[in-house]
């Protein structure tokens, strides 16, 4: 037993020195350290040394009213440790706290006798608050309150914890009850008024330390928040796409605000930019995927939007964005229809903010918090000490109260979120500007490209026209000059004999005939290109038409001893009979012109699309190298220029064929295995009127070699 009167007397004898020494040490510690925990740890050690009791502790109240032991000093094997334990708000009800503030110090010297002493009063026997309200505690004279009996529940609580003597001094910070400085002893123990005074002074010193530490931590936290905001603001200028930036900023905002997930919903400002949702971390259940943006369409979000919240580019007190905080989704009646989406997730709380830039509404910023993990807050849960039973019971109740609830966001966290909101609004605006600018640029680029194409096409047309004119004049002048010069030779009788005379007449005749053919072809092409050629589309019996064409080439076939075969699997095509004849005449003439041996085959089959006739003329003639086979369909181009002289003709035949076939809705192309190996010219024609109307050439896209 520590509390014998002899020891106490001895102690009291040295009290003034010890008191001064204690207070001086504490004042020194507070001066030396800004670390609150360090000061609190020292306080409980000093207090226990001073009072010589079994356990001293500092009990701190949290924002939600619950409390926990933040510092403790205890004698070995006397009372169990309570360090770190949490107690629900009900354990020290509001009226009891009000009494602490009012009476300052409260001491129960003997729990079993329920004797209570308060240092501010000379009357030694007083009582506790019973069922008074906070208002009653504040209004009634202290004497009246303290004359009430000690709350039996409190007596029971202390008894069960093995405490027989208790001294409690409130720690007041900024006129509010910050916590309690408590001394427990396992046996009844009287505490002198001098002791009480010292403890009171110690509590005052702790208050001072708290003030210092709070200021420091406020500055530190502010610095930390500023650092986070700066870090996130820096991300806005990262060399990434605006989408990546927004996603990264959201991720950092979620982490910095201690949330488990977040979403950034951006409305569609115009048709060019669709509404967009960025998400990070925990999200409502998948059912939402079926109805995207469901959350933001909910009235809760819509209401937040209506709160007028003009936001400037700097965060000032009056410009803070509106916030809507839901700590417990279950208890928010308006969210009932959404509860299902959250039930399968750990999300229990959310915070919604509208995003504005000036008066422009940009979207919503939503953060989620998961339900509290209560087990972690109860480190003493597994201890077997019977004396911990009562705190454990309290804890069980507290746990029950906390279930399905998320940690609320602290004021600082909310301020942080509001700061981030402003930066995000700016980022969103940047994103929109970027997209608008990019869209404008794309439109300009498209216009430029279209203009450039148009210019290139115009230049190409002009070039082709120049080439055509140049070629035409050359092609016309050459036979014209020959005719003229032959006639001149004849006119001046510059021939030696009859044979030479005949030779000049033949030359003049042939040159004139070439001239006529060229003129006709050129006029034909000019007519086609001017759109002055009329088509007379009808159902043409292809077999009959091809047979007639082959018959007309029969003389040439026999003359050159080159067999001509026909294989027609098609009954009719929808085309202009005269034009088809012109095309076939040209192709057959070419085939015979360039073929000296072998044979010529005409074949007509249905193409792979089933809508077009594919008619080909195959020869075993001179063939061509395939490199520029397309050029052969350009005016005045022949595989071998000298062929134009050797074989006659204008080089306009294939051009005319191409124009005519395309006019009838088909395509034409040439294939050759190579020089000297013959070639095949194939053209397509619509099988019937429908395919003619539907295609106009596009039907055979992919068949023709490109």
């Amino acid at each position: 037993m520590v509390t014998n009167s002899g020891f106490r007397n001895l102690k009291d004898q040295f009290l003034p020195e010890r008191k001064e020494a204690l207070l001086a040490r504490m004042a020194n510690r507070i001066r030396q350290s800004l670390n609150l925990q360090e000061i609190l740890d020292a306080t409980v050690v000093e207090l226990r040394a001073f009072l010589q009791t079994d356990r001293t502790k500092v009990y701190r109240f949290d924002r939600d009213g619950h409390g926990h032991v933040v510092a403790e000093a205890s004698a070995p094997n006397r009372l169990p440790s309570l360090l770190g334990l949490h107690y629900p708000a009900d354990d020290i009800p509001p009226q009891a706290r009000a009494l602490f503030v009012k009476a300052r110090t409260r001491s129960i010297v003997n729990v079993s006798e329920q004797r209570i002493i308060l240092n501010s009063l000379p009357t030694p026997t007083t009582t506790a608050i019973g069922d008074l309200t906070v208002e009653e505690v504040q209004e009634q004279p202290l004497e009246d309150i303290l004359s009430r009996p000690v709350d039996p529940c409190h007596v029971d609580y202390l008894t069960q914890m093995g405490v027989q003597s208790s001294l409690v001094v409130p720690i007041i910070y900024q006129q509010e009850l910050w916590g309690l400085l408590i001394s427990h002893h396992a046996e009844p123990r009287e505490i002198t008024s001098e002791d009480l005074l010292v403890v009171q002074l110690l509590a005052d010193q702790v208050s001072l330390a708290i003030t210092q530490a709070s200021l420091l931590s406020q500055v530190q936290e502010q610095q930390q928040r500023d650092a986070i905001v700066n870090q996130i603001a820096t991300m806005l200028h990262a060399p990434l796409t605006p989408e990546e930036i927004l996603h990264n900023v959201l991720e950092q905002a979620v982490k910095a605000s201690g949330s488990s997930g977040g979403r950034l919903y951006l409305t569609s400002p115009d048709e060019a930019l669709p509404a967009h949702l960025y998400t990070y971390g925990n999200q409502p259940a998948p059912s939402e995927q079926e109805q995207p943006h469901l959350l933001e369409n909910h009235p809760l979000w819509q209401e937040v939007r209506k709160i007028p919240a003009p936001i400037g580019t700097t965060l000032t007190q009056k410009d803070k964005p509106a916030l809507r905080v839901v700590i417990n989704l279950q208890q928010e009646p308006r969210l009932h229809q959404l509860i299902e989406s959250f039930q399968t997730t750990p999300i229990r709380g959310l915070i919604v903010q509208p995003l504005y830039y000036s008066k422009e509404f940009l979207g919503y910023l939503t953060f989620f918090r998961d339900q509290i993990s209560t087990k972690n807050l109860w480190p003493g849960y597994e201890e077997a000490d019977e004396r911990q039973q009562r705190p454990r019971q309290s804890m069980a109740q507290w746990q029950a109260l906390k279930e399905d609830k998320a940690h609320p966001w602290s004021i600082e966290e909310m301020e942080l979120i509001q700061s981030l909101n402003i930066h995000l609004s700016l980022a969103v605006l940047q994103n929109r500007l970027y997209h608008r600018e990019r869209q404008q640029r794309l439109i300009v680029e498209m216009h430029n490209e279209a203009l450039s194409h148009a210019r290139a096409a115009a230049e190409e047309v002009s070039r082709l026209k120049s080439n055509f004119l140049a070629s035409t004049s050359h092609e016309l002048r050459t036979p014209l000059a020959s005719t003229l010069n032959y006639l001149k030779l004849l006119k001046e009788r510059l021939y030696e004999d009859e044979d030479e005379l005949r030779e000049y007449i033949d030359g003049a005749y042939q040159s004139t005939q070439n001239l006529v053919t060229i003129i006709n072809d050129v006029l034909d092409i000019a007519k086609i290109e001017d759109g002055r050629i009329a088509l007379d589309l009808e159902t043409v019996y292809l077999q009959q038409l091809l047979q007639e064409q082959c018959f007309l080439s029969g003389a040439e076939s026999r003359y050159k001893a080159i067999p001509l075969t026909l294989d027609c699997e098609i009954e009719t095509v929808f085309a202009d009979k005269i034009k088809v004849r012109q095309v076939m005449t040209n192709l057959l003439d070419n085939a015979f012109k360039f073929t000296d041996e072998g044979q010529i085959d005409v074949r007509a089959v249905v193409d792979s699309t089933g809508t077009m006739a594919q008619i080909s003329v195959h020869d075993t003639g001179i063939g061509i190298e395939m490199e520029n086979s397309e050029q052969l369909f350009s005016p005045f181009v022949q595989a071998d220029g000298s062929a134009q002289r050797s074989y006659g003709g204008t080089g306009l035949g294939l051009t005319i064929c191409k124009r005519l076939v395309e006019l009838m809705g088909g395509k034409i192309w040439l294939e050759s295995p190579g020089l000297g190996q013959g070639n095949t010219v194939t053209f397509t024609l619509p099988l019937n009127e429908q395919s003619q109307v539907a295609g106009q050439g596009s039907l055979v896209e992919g068949q023709a070699p490109s």
Partner: protein
């Protein structure tokens, strides 16, 4: 007798020129560049060349045009022959204006629609003065 070479794929033109000038010149014709041998010894024998402006657009000769041939003849042949650019692309009047601009190295220009006397006259004028047919 001066030796004259014609490079032109137009059979009729070659035949007419040959007939018209055969009294004055020994004439050889080449109907394609590939047959127009680039052996200097052979080409060196000619005094006059009539070269068509743009030669036939045979595939293997696509990169060669009349102007390049004129330039090669003038620079590479030791006897410095008379080279006349002949074409049907332009009329006589056009060629008079643009000929020298297009092919500065040619000695003369002849449009095919102009009279053959003009050609004969032009050749005579371009040949070195004082020389005769017998040179």
């Amino acid at each position: 007798m001066y030796k004259l070479a014609i490079l032109d794929d137009d059979e009729h033109w070659c035949r007419i020129v040959q007939r018209f000038l055969k009294q004055q010149y020994a004439i050889a014709t080449y109907k394609s560049v590939s047959s127009f041998l680039w052996e200097l010894d052979e080409l060196n024998q000619y005094d006059i060349f009539l070269v068509d402006f743009v030669l036939p657009t045979a595939r293997h000769e696509l990169n060669t045009d009349g102007m390049e041939i004129v330039t090669a003849l003038k620079r590479r042949l030791s006897r410095s022959p008379v080279v006349i650019l002949v074409t049907a692309y332009m009329s006589k009047n056009e060629l008079e204006v643009h000929g020298k601009q297009m092919c500065p190295e040619a000695d003369g220009f002849f449009a095919k629609d102009a009279g053959l006397e003009l050609l004969a006259h032009q050749i005579k004028q371009l040949l070195p003065p004082g020389t005769t047919e017998e040179s």
